[in-house]
Amino acid sequence: MSHSRHLLALASGLVSTPASTGPGNWIPPRSPSLTIQSFFPRGSTTFSNMGVNTGAQDVVHPRSPKSLHLRRSFISGERSSADCARTPGLIVTEYLDRLREKEPDVKSFLHISSSALDEAAEIDGRLARGDDPGPLAGIPIAIKDNLCTRGMPSTGGSRILDGYRPPYDATAVKRLKESGAVLIGKTNLDEFGMGSSTESSAYQVTSNPWDLSRVPGGSSGGSAAAVAAGQCACALGSDTGGSIRQPASFCGVVGLKPTYGRVSRFGLMAYASSLDVVGCLGTSVDDVSLLLTAIAGHDPADATSSSKVVPNYLKALVPAKELPGNPLAGMKFGIIKETIGEGVEPAVAQVVKNAVVHLEKLGAVVQEVSLPTFSLGLPAYYVLAASEASSNLSRYDGIRYGPRVVADELNAMYGASRGQGFGAEVKRRILMGTYALSAGYYDAFYKRAQQVRTLIQQDFKKALEDGHILVSPVAPSPAFKIGEKVLDPLSMYLGDLMTVNVNMAGLPALSLPCGLIEDEGSKLPVGLQLIGNAFEEEELLRVGHIFEQTVPTW
């Protein structure tokens, strides 16, 4: 890969793939109704080169570690083909231009930073003086709008926080700033994280860059779409029941849900405190590793954050050309039986099985494992999440922040402010949670859900004890059409089957793009989920990195 072509690709926002050293080409079986397309074509820099017409913007080429490349070019002072230095100022300008160009179609941002260029200029200055720029210096990063950012509004996707400007930064945000990142804007989400399509945002519907008539997934849909559309180099999201992994899968980007306690939740607007985590999205595992290293670690302001040492997650990653012939030799994977049968679209199950075959070709041993209580996780999750949400959202009373509806009497004021400030899905969950926690109902719902939670944790523990990394699809389908599921909340909940149990157990999981499905003329990404033991993100990232560098062309 020539130097100047690499930088030219950087300038256009797309980076060509490194040469694959994986196993030779082979043709996978074709599913009868949906065709599975090549995902990582060699030598091509854009999907338009492939003659693929998604009807949407060019989607950022996957598997390009944009942030890492940017960082290296800033530090080395690499010159572009136009012989100007690749500076943060230049990069942020490019990203802002591309952000604005794509925004009318994708609508991933609720707020665009007005100080991004100033911040970039300041980093230019530090670099010019030879100061250490920080591990993320100059890299344009988008932040999901349920993370508090002092300099920018934070709405949680809700009208009840319309105009709210937090007086503090979330710890994850603070750490990004300290690493020199340029926070380019706040991304759209399902209101307070409640949803799987970003359609329950009070402000706008985000479109999937792969097909603008489809959802980007949720609740971190804005972050996933922004990364896929090249509007930012990488992004922060949150995951309570799959809210990073599922949009990552729908948008063809990498998404990491860290172990519960790995990243501070301080400043994350709480939805379900025993399930929420802050995590990362990027175009490749390298970038996600870079981001996680910056934000992870103990925080005195979060009593549930772990004091376990944070490794440099990048160090575990081995470049493709240094990989031995069977890089996954000796590793055991368990494909979760309950996730590849009924209830999953056959094309999705097929893509995931193909990915498993690839893992085997890399030397891994893959067995089927069963998690018998798997399907119970979904109702149990919704009982717990709705219950915790009903408690967490009681703080939104119109008094201390957000719009207040005028009323003569206090309770009427609460009722009206909340009734008008919250959207339908949030109201449903608050009421369901209130029901489940009502006196006399605890045994029937909440306690039973917690008992199911114990069983799920036990099942995972047993499966992971045998040294497996667990494998499953991320979602039963690729991205569905906007509006397709809004009328039936339950049908939306059923799509979370593959992801919620991981939150119940607090385990880390990675969503990796592993193939494309064609549906009604659109190419739609499918994600592979890898689940590991608590605090074993290094292992997941290492395996994910090997996978993404060696996945064969179809």
Binding site: R165, P167, Y168, Y260, G261, S274, H298, A303, S306, S307, T373, L376, P379, V383, S394, D397, G398, I399, Y401, P403, A407, D408, E409, L410, N411, A412, M413, A416, R418, G419, A424, K427, I430, L431, M432, T434, Y435, A436, S438, G440, Y441, A444, F445, K447, A449, Q450, Q451, V452, R453, T454, L455, Q457, F460, K461, P489, L490, A505, G506, L507, A534
Partner: protein, 96 residues
């Protein structure tokens, strides 16, 4: 267990719905609560309820030191408040 009564739940949750909203949300909630019913059918004797995730999220530092810390953001916090009167936050009267 009695099925969900939207009016009672709204009272408890301090949430006001319009009649149309209540009419729409009632069946939606009932449908989901019925679906929660699966949890009744599982054998759960002798299973402890899990309050939190399965692993220990220990914090080695334990309790923080009992020392005074200055909070410097009072002004910006108070700036978010809708209605103020002097040093008080103003709210409508409370009737019972």
């Amino acid at each position: 267990v009695k099925p969900p009564n939207v009016g009672e739940l709204c009272e408890k949750a301090r949430l006001s719905l319009t009649p149309d909203e209540a009419a729409e949300i009632g069946p939606q909630i009932s449908r989901v609560v019925d679906w929660f019913g699966q949890l009744q059918e599982v054998e759960l004797d002798n299973v402890d309820p899990a309050i939190r995730v399965g692993h220990e999220v220990e914090s080695q530092r334990g309790l923080r030191r009992d020392e005074h810390l200055d909070f410097t953001e009072k002004d910006s916090m108070v700036a978010s408040v809708g209605e103020k009167e002097g040093v008080f936050i103003k709210v409508p009267k409370i009737l019972n």
